[in-house]
Subunit: 499 residues, 2 copies
């Protein structure tokens, strides 16, 4: 979950209130495809293949079973952890069982480890003490063992923090905001990603950030925060929205002091791996259709929606395509990226190691918006993309996804491929409940509806096949205006943001 | 939150699926009251009084402000705790500020204190370890400091546990169930209340109970459990529904071992207090209309819905009635009971201390189903009650509560008055979301809608006035068939249960 300038996944971007939407490329208007009026119309694709991909995806429950293996069997898999290493082995075994050739490629990843964490609002003359429901942000510094006790200063933007100048010295900066719908994530994620770095520069002693959440039962949401390399760090945690509301109410009546104890630590980098698998194309094996998800998760919850569901979808798509009587025209390559959540190291390693091949990447997708039902197909390509893809959409009608999103396809792990002008495609899912669970201990298997997952898996399998089989390929898009890694704009500016 | 045979609050009872509903007294069918067709119809009551009660309740926000004081200022208030003692003082100050005469009456209460609590599912050859999201039940024994590690045995009823006989010796009994709607609470609360006592008799070493929840973000729900006085106890905790699902899935594949650490302790009993306040009747001061709520809460969350909202409603009703130009015919007595949640001690102390007065208690209500919007009026009285009350309902039309519930009025703290045949009345609220928060750290102020609370407060103020002013009183009901405190039936039998 980096929080900079990566392309907003279409599934989330769709929900941005139009007034707050990032400036987008001129988007084609959504256009639904209807099934052919008679059964005699000849499609551009093989009906038999559509049945062989969509039928099993909808009936066998294989993707859900695999997701259960990953979440129940492996569990959390933060980059650098034993869980992450176990997930790599699990994925290799899975591809082998599926008859899909797979290999690993090395990725150096950070190893940040959560420790004890607790906090409380200290009692005043007016109010008794309150425990805080908090969770350290990935990358946070620890507090001293006895904790950090300081006065709280509330701000709602990085600009407001900057305006306070020296007055936050030695204090705990509390970043509050008004997230209420998924589209708000992009507006406020910068408070978590860049707020702590800004606060440490201003001399603050610690940071509390309101969780980026669309529902809460006192549920804090973690996520990555970034400090200057080798620069100073501070203890930074997210508080549940309830606790943010409490702090806000108490601050309205006078000074508030908080004690927080964070026992997290940054260990030496670890060698980890991307997992890559391929079904070779029958005619143009040198042309690559890349489908991806990220194998790592946060260390709380079991990463069922983020991004176990994506992993299950793309592995199942490859399994079903590998079982077809004949392979599609082009090569289908699955990449399970390591460490999307805490620095995009796997994505960068892939783009570097495969730089020479990127011009032959004719389409790339990342599924990373949860295991929800499919709602649309998205593209980020040069002119004519929709016309090329539209004839392939009828098999998605009954899945509810046979239309184009008004927003562009993308994915955090795809962003390092953008400068090479790799066309992106995607299957959008209904992410309206994604930020109820995102980066929390509640991101567990029970939150994934087997029917929704099966439908999205079917749509992914079909769209992957379509990209690999269609006679011509998508035109390559323009290179992005902002290269990945460039400084992101102010957090409260609406801006496309990866997740 | 006792779990025995107390009368089901009408607000919850209404939602019982009819097939699973407890055998009820023949209930009148719900009947809506419409506003008078012309403004000239002469009501049996004073319109001016209706305006003086409902107007301020809906416009001044006094009940919500008081709830904020109680939840933010005092916070959790488990019986025997400093918070509970502070709440008693807070209530006394509140009544004084309102010009309502108040006093305290002593109640001995248990003092159970939560300690460290954590658990994990141990790794097997097939699965890595998983942390458990758990919370000790009130009354639980602690584990040894190093924790309890044992194999888990899943059952779904006390009968199933009994059938297992000696085979649960030394094991952790896991009570699973299928609660999905509020009406299920009565069906399954016995697993929490009496399951641990049954398990300790069977030789089990510990108990895990699936939380009694209608929503979860890995949110465990506590509540009271009861062992034989001076009998053996064991460590007993509730797990979040997600963790119950995980245990169930893992058990389907083989043995599961859990380690749990509970550091709770039972301290000596403490003297605490009921808070009682009165507005003397102008004509028949010896006749008492009792309105009540419970001042204690669980030790997690701030008891906003359970039962801060009820406290705010009945205090505000008394304040508004005390400000009327003339007092109603009968005495309005407010009782804020201490320790509803962990043994009903306040309710029993009140019924004992006021035994001689109970024949002069002409009506009693307890608001304890959350600070939600009002939906109906309920009664538990002898024949003719609805006919007596109906002419007083028109002021509730715009509040959405001018109709009778098909279910009887009640309340856990009222149950010790039932043998004295005190008539009960109530304002039902829409409790459909109550068990999302009930007995969790998420029962906080933000969950209470100020508008809903104002509307219920208005309805409570008006119905209280109506009971105190109407020319005659409700006929007294039959005595209950099962005296309070008698053994409750099997947990999986549908049965009315207090909360
Ligand atoms: Zn993700
Ligand atoms: Zn209660």
């Amino acid at each position: 979950m980096p929080v900079s300038t990566f392309v907003l996944p279409a599934s989330l971007a769709l929900q941005l209130v139009s007034g707050a939407a990032p400036a987008a490329k001129p988007a084609s208007s959504p256009a639904s495809v209807k099934p052919a009026a008679t059964a005699k119309a000849t499609p551009v694709y093989s009906q038999a293949v559509a049945e062989k991909l969509i039928g099993p995806a909808l009936t066998e429950g294989h993707a859900y079973a695999r997701l259960a293996e990953l979440t129940d069997g492996i569990g959390p898999r933060l980059s650098g952890s034993e869980g992450a290493a176990a997930a790599v082995q699990w994925a290799m075994r899975g591809f082998k069982a599926d008859g899909v050739k797979a290999w690993t490629e090395p990725v150096k990843v950070p190893r940040w480890v959560r420790g004890e964490e607790r906090g409380e609002v200290l009692a005043t003359e007016r109010t008794r003490a309150h425990p805080l429901s908090l969770i350290a942000l990935g990358g946070s510094a620890p507090t001293a063992p006895e904790g950090l006790t300081a006065e709280v200063v509330e701000v709602t933007s990085l600009e407001q923090l900057a305006a306070l100048g020296d007055s936050v010295k030695g204090k705990i900066v509390f970043f509050n905001h008004t997230m209420s719908v998924p589209a708000d994530y992009g507006r406020f994620a910068g408070l978590r990603g860049r707020g702590p770095a800004a606060a440490v520069k201003a001399g603050a002693a610690g940071v509390l950030v309101r969780s980026l959440a669309t529902a809460s039962l006192r549920t804090p949401h973690t996520g990555s925060t970034r400090f200057e390399p080798n620069g100073p760090k501070l203890p930074a945690a997210a508080v549940a929205t309830e606790d943010a509301e409490l702090l806000h109410r108490l601050l309205a009546n006078g000074p508030v002091r908080v004690k927080m104890v964070l026992g997290c630590s940054e260990l030496p980098e670890v060698e980890s791996h991307n997992v890559i698998a391929e079904v070779k194309g029958r005619e143009k094996p040198q042309e690559i259709v890349l489908i991806s998800a990220h194998l790592d998760s946060w260390d709380v919850g079991t990463g069922a929606h983020d991004d176990g569901a994506g992993v299950a979808m793309v592995m199942e798509a490859a399994r079903l395509i590998a079982k077809l009587p004949q392979a599609p025209r082009r090569t289908v390559r699955v990449v399970l990226f390591m460490n999307e959540e805490h620095g995009l190291h796997g994505a960068r390693a892939y783009a570097e190691a495969h730089a020479a091949e990127l011009p032959r990447h004719v389409a790339a997708m990342e599924m990373d918006a949860g295991g929800f039902k499919p709602v649309a197909v998205s593209l980020r390509a040069g002119a004519g993309g929709q016309d090329l893809v539209r004839p392939w959409l009828p098999p998605l009608v009954a899945l509810g996804a046979a239309n184009f999103s008004a927003r562009e396809a993308g994915g955090a792990d795809l962003s390092p491929m953008a400068p090479a002008r790799v066309p992106f495609f995607g299957v959008e899912v209904d992410s309206s409940r994604y930020f109820d669970y995102h980066h929390t201990m509640a991101d567990t298997l029970d939150k994934v509806d087997p029917q929704d997952l099966a439908r999205s898996t079917a749509a992914v399998a079909w769209m992957t096949y379509a990209m690999a089989e269609m006679p011509t390929t998508l035109a390559r898009p323009e290179a992005p205006a902002t290269p990945p890694g460039a400084p992101a704009p102010a957090a409260t500016q609406p801006k496309a943001t990866g997740h």
